[in-house]
Symmetry: C5
Subunit: 94 residues, 5 copies
Amino acid sequence: MQLGRVIGRVWASVKNPGLTGQRLLIVQPVKADLSPTGKSIVCTDCTGAGAGEIIYWVRGREASFPFTPADVASDATIVGIVDEINTGKKKDPS
Amino acid sequence: MQLGRVIGRVWASVKNPGLTGQRLLIVQPVKADLSPTGKSIVCTDCTGAGAGEIIYWVRGREASFPFTPADVASDATIVGIVDEINTGKKKDPS
Amino acid sequence: MQLGRVIGRVWASVKNPGLTGQRLLIVQPVKADLSPTGKSIVCTDCTGAGAGEIIYWVRGREASFPFTPADVASDATIVGIVDEINTGKKKDPS
Amino acid sequence: MQLGRVIGRVWASVKNPGLTGQRLLIVQPVKADLSPTGKSIVCTDCTGAGAGEIIYWVRGREASFPFTPADVASDATIVGIVDEINTGKKKDPS
Amino acid sequence: MQLGRVIGRVWASVKNPGLTGQRLLIVQPVKADLSPTGKSIVCTDCTGAGAGEIIYWVRGREASFPFTPADVASDATIVGIVDEINTGKKKDPS
């Protein structure tokens, strides 16, 4: 999975039927320190993430797992909203 | 999924039978602000996208989903034509 | 799919049985204007492509589709030989 | 597989049910000489790896194999903790 | 597939059961002229390749094909040892 920030949304009226009813969010990948890295991608979402939130997403074949048994033609899906990231530079709550 | 702009088309008479009858479009990946990024790819299409249109495509195993049950040997398929992109810099219609 | 030019061939006597009898071609990825980009890869072939030809290939799971039902352990297969590329800079024959 | 070092952890209360109960670790990819390379990723874990340990992970479809028959929507999973790396610059114990 | 040179080996006692008994080799990707390119990866092996040999490997889902029906959680497997590479700069033996 990769970390990212939701930075926008895409609207499309002509699309594959498997994507009907799916929100499409634009995600900017971020590093562990939340600085942006690499190019933005378009993700489906199974968490209800909103603009500005830090999330992580899966790509590839696994991106359609959350929608099983529907055949959603997605290769990138947000699967979690991040509460906290700990990289040893902050106090570890665990 | 990734955003891109249709910039051309490829013709091939010798090809895998699974690709017969499929239009092959050349897509230039673009960022959320529609500036080009990275190298162009060749996509199959299930939307009827035309030259100059902004689209998004899936790659990998999902790229053959829209053609099920046909076994189309494609790893990149256009699955939507973009109406509008909102990244917080324009008014949010939602 | 990505565009490429066939630039060579690989011989291997010790290999996975699933690759026996498969020609292995070295492909240099090219942009839509046919200039080289990125590093060369080794592809199986289902088209009979020869040295110097412009082709497109699929990667990933789809690369084994053309050989079904054989289990060819390939992640990159040439699936078409390009006749013409049109990117709006030449007259559009369509 | 790729080599990496565990550098942190991610907490998420809103997530795909398939990820419930899975620890999510932040991994910094490293080269064979253990110097960092590329951007960090978020991995599920099937080894019990801890902060600072050198591990290797699989990505893609294989990342959900260790959790079979559960459908874990992960595209990156730690599958081993490294005891020793030998690249010919140290004495070869084999 | 990609070309690479075997440059080392990894030992791990804690690992996914699906990797038990598998040799893990460190591979440096190389170009067609055998110069190194990109970062090293860890591969399983089905050829008996040794240190210094030029090989090619598959990545992704296909990397577990050579081990079927065993479920080896590998995303990169050496599938051939290269005898000769011909890129038109040497005499073509074919």
